[in-house]
Symmetry: C2
Subunit: 254 residues, 2 copies
């Protein structure tokens, strides 16, 4: 887009490119926004002005921009995240009480996974990800739990996009990924050990809605020293079962 | 804007008018969006198409539009809501455990008040408001707690906008509002009884950040039959103190 060629994007596309600049940053200067959105400074200035006029972005006293309350108010109208969070919160609290680690509710978003909610104990392991961050499906417990139940074309696209290595333990071989996903479907639990974050492992279980479709996953991320403790797998499985029931799922034979 | 005159709005303003159509609705048809945004159907169709292409809105199988996960992901980047929620969540859980009613964290947004977070007991009173809804400052406990500590021009604007009556008990007289706000500043607690919702009362207390500024309020909304019970005022005051401390506030003399 940048680098000399004509910019064929519509005004809307340029506005959205500005919004997307904040996907991985809490605060940006106007020049940073312009660079990330591949816009001339003058265009960025005008369109950022439109965003701030509306309240989707706000300009701090230091001249840096961040996402505004208006965008937050609109975002929380997203109905799936609301419904899932409401059903899951009591179970996440119980998991937090039982483990003192990070507990998450996550959904698949395209070829990635996003935490809808996190509750964390004070001594939980240090992590870079946060609510709203997109994480890789093949390198997280929630990602494996969701990918194991995703349509076949999602699996194909994940493999075609390449299994990026984040740590020594990341699954990068398609054969291994296929075996691990079969195991997830068989056991109902996905475990991912130091695949994305050193010193941490995650255990996840899929959540189903009233139609039986897997719509979310619940996980614990804990210090790797605690890998052998039995309550993590048990905890996420019971929590996932409870959240699924709250969403109207009835397991076959019940 | 509608009704014959020329539409001087920029493309950005029209896009934002479409987004604003979802402030009070979970799902809208294209005609409903066009009507709410005061746009011709053809313009609405084109711009809604831009929103859905990006993912800020999604179109369901029934043809109705709702806010999309992309907007949610962006909204959760809003730094104030994140910081306040993280500090408040353990206290909200404790208040919920102690009361079994609705517990809230709220901030002022212009001349209204918005719940950033809610946790609710199973037997809590029925309410129409939800996270992200804008509520009136003069008719809610959190609103009175925030208005009591807001800049004088906010007070003037609230009075100038008119004190709308929602229930028989709503404060509609400026003299009474002034007295009640003075009382809030003196006691540290704001109480609002059946002012917005019949059968419910709310008790709220202000939360301060490291600079001493009131940045949020914590509240309980409970069945009006429980109005005399002492734990509500005590609970919100202690919770507000704890959240303020977590935000770095040190009370004078401590």
């Amino acid at each position: 887009m940048s680098g000399g060629g004509r910019d064929d994007r519509s005004v809307a596309e340029k506005l959205f490119a500005i919004a997307d600049a904040f996907a991985g940053a809490e605060e940006l200067t106007l020049s940073e926004i312009a660079a990330r959105a591949a816009l001339p400074l003058s265009t960025a200035h005008r369109l950022v002005g439109e965003w701030t006029e509306w309240g989707g972005l706000v300009r701090g006293d230091d001249g840096r921009y961040r996402v505004g309350m208006r965008m937050w108010r609109l975002g929380v109208r997203e109905p799936t995240a609301r419904r899932l969070r409401n059903a899951a919160m009591p179970y996440l609290e119980d998991l937090l009480d039982a483990t003192g680690e990070h507990v998450h509710l996550a959904v698949r978003d395209g070829l990635g996974v996003v935490y809808l909610e996190r509750r964390s104990g004070e001594k939980a392991v240090a992590m870079v990800s946060d609510i709203g961050t997109i994480l890789p499906l093949h390198a997280t417990g929630v990602g494996l739990a969701l990918l194991a139940h995703a349509p076949a074309d999602v699996y194909d696209d994940v493999v075609a996009a390449g299994l990026r290595r984040f740590q020594q333990n990341t699954i990068t071989d398609e054969g291994e990924l296929r075996r691990r996903l079969a195991e997830v479907r068989q056991t109902g639990i996905a475990t991912s050990v130091q695949a994305l974050t050193r010193g941490a492992f995650s255990v996840a279980a899929p959540v189903r809605d009233a139609t039986g479709e897997v719509v979310a996953a619940v996980s614990i991320i804990a210090h790797v020293e605690r890998l052998g403790e039995p309550q993590f797998g048990l905890g996420v499985r019971i929590a996932a079962r409870g959240i699924s029931a709250a969403l109207g799922y009835r397991a076959p034979g019940t």
